[in-house]
Symmetry: C2
Subunit: 353 residues, 2 copies
Amino acid sequence: MVTSGTPEKDTRTQTVLRAEDPRSPATISDVARLAGVSKTTVSHVLSGRRPVSDATRAKVNRVIEELGFQQNFFATGLTGRRTQTIALVVQDLTNPFYPALARGLQQTMAEHGHVVLLADVGAGVPPVGAFLSEAVQRRVDGVVVAAIDISDEQIEPLRAAGIGVVTVGDPRRRTTTDVISSDDERIAADAVAYLHDQGHRRLGIVSGPPHTAPGAPRLAGYRNALRAHGLRPLKAAETTGDWTRESGAKAMTALMDLERRPTAVFCANDLMAIGALDAARVLGLAVPGDVAVVGVDDIDAASLVSPALTTIRVPAQDIGRVAGEQLMTRIGTPTGPARRVLVQHSLVVRESA
Amino acid sequence: MVTSGTPEKDTRTQTVLRAEDPRSPATISDVARLAGVSKTTVSHVLSGRRPVSDATRAKVNRVIEELGFQQNFFATGLTGRRTQTIALVVQDLTNPFYPALARGLQQTMAEHGHVVLLADVGAGVPPVGAFLSEAVQRRVDGVVVAAIDISDEQIEPLRAAGIGVVTVGDPRRRTTTDVISSDDERIAADAVAYLHDQGHRRLGIVSGPPHTAPGAPRLAGYRNALRAHGLRPLKAAETTGDWTRESGAKAMTALMDLERRPTAVFCANDLMAIGALDAARVLGLAVPGDVAVVGVDDIDAASLVSPALTTIRVPAQDIGRVAGEQLMTRIGTPTGPARRVLVQHSLVVRESA
DNA sequence: AACACCCCGCAAACCGGTTTGCAAGCAAGG
DNA sequence: CCTTGCTTGCAAACCGGTTTGCGGGGTGTT
């Protein structure tokens, strides 16, 4: 600001009406004084917990406007019950599934005027317990848990504190919280049905760890679907990976070594499917000519590999959205039976099958 | 606890010493009463702002332990200055660069006992202004801005509120805040040097938007490097994309249409480079045989495409770490000259060049 | 005119900490 | 024996809101 210097004090802010110290934010007392009413009345205007006459309300609102008054977050939190804050705990942000989930959740919560605390607990920093206890201390309204490593016991303190909890991705294990997840058995069934449609009769699977969340149901769905189509699940054609690309390549190699090798392979996620493509290339097998491959998730990379991956799309962002909506209703009614929501998937046909 | 029932009141929690309501958390008054001292003394034990005798401190600490007392976040925040909270504003979580950044930042902040508020402002929800004002209201200690859409004017209120600000990725535009970024001119120079080493003499570029953050310096670096190697930058061989895969394909097609078409193309990010690979495939050109391609970022997908992308790796997670460290020192000393930190990149040679 | 009732606003207590001013206890110094 | 100064702890005010109990004034009923 290039002006002639005023020797005394510069009035650099434009808050004309502020009577006291112009640099600290306006308080409810300032509003009350300038509006000629009591703090109580201002508070009632703000919260609407008791009726206030139109004239008074208008006057108060005008002063609030002029002063740019905002309620002090901490003063409100000291007595109030809600903090308009939720926490999101994810397993590993570098896995593309979670950022998409986070984005959907964050948008939904923002629409409801809530703010999101984020913790990626995959690397052990912060420790799960420490973060959850922070969340309790900060009186978050709710928590979305999208991290398979977290047990019911670790969640218990949240529920004890009256905090809404929604978990993502583990429909069998959680008995006490709302759960949002993909319909994992049907995902596997749909993949098998598609491959069967394409004429494949000898199928194999690269499953996830068989006792964890999406691993078990996808394996079960695969087996059931085979039987439903009159095929017999062969133990030999069931391999296991740990969701990584490398494990997928290894499992695929094993499958291709079989006497009667499968003509189509269902991989329980895209990263392992991409690994399977790696293995096929190394072995000199054409995809889908010699062997077809189907994945699950539809991560961005699925369309980048060559051949582009046919996959079952699991809409992570929508899951985040749904988790947010569910959390909002859960915050409203903390008790009540746990709800399970299955989010719809869809088949994305590309080149690999 | 299986004991004979005491008819009067059940002591279901194990907090033997709690006198009052056993279900609401312990307060500092509880601690004071049980320790036989005043609130003041307990507060001093907690904060260490005044000396307390060893005996008293031990006694107080024991009671704190027994009660599981934790300071009320809101009561502390009402008077105290620090909230152990920072905000992270990112442009678009579905761009793999940002989750990696977020992870690094979050880990660093967790090590310092801070919690991260996350906002993805790419979709306009929440609006930037609204989120930043929320951050001010919640008295965050600092903000990391990793969103190119945010202007200095929008950041000003933060600085006015004494909040530390660190921006990521825009070393020229920000004059008032600390900036962490990649060394974009040298990234381009290194890419050009590598291609020159490989014998390429006719180069082209798919640049980013020429007036935005990493777009301009990478283009400038490319031009300067050409001259440094005795080559003349050709306007015709300078195309522009908007960081997306599709725009990269389009730009590449234009380059390949040139009379004297480049034998090597530098793409200002990986997504556009992948688009360039798409275009080359469509045109029936072999990479790197007919034309070499180099990208920037080293996103996960870079190793998935075929041919695998040779690229300049920009360590997003490290940038997050560095931003966190810088923010911590900035929180400690709010004033002082703005600092710029350039994070080291590295060349990752794969198949495309 | 008397009574009940509702509407509206205020003063004061309270949430759970932090911070300040003061004083008692004690050891060292003169 | 009397200062001086340091250590240690307390009571009370304060941060900025929310909530409760109460009373004055206006309206409707009998």
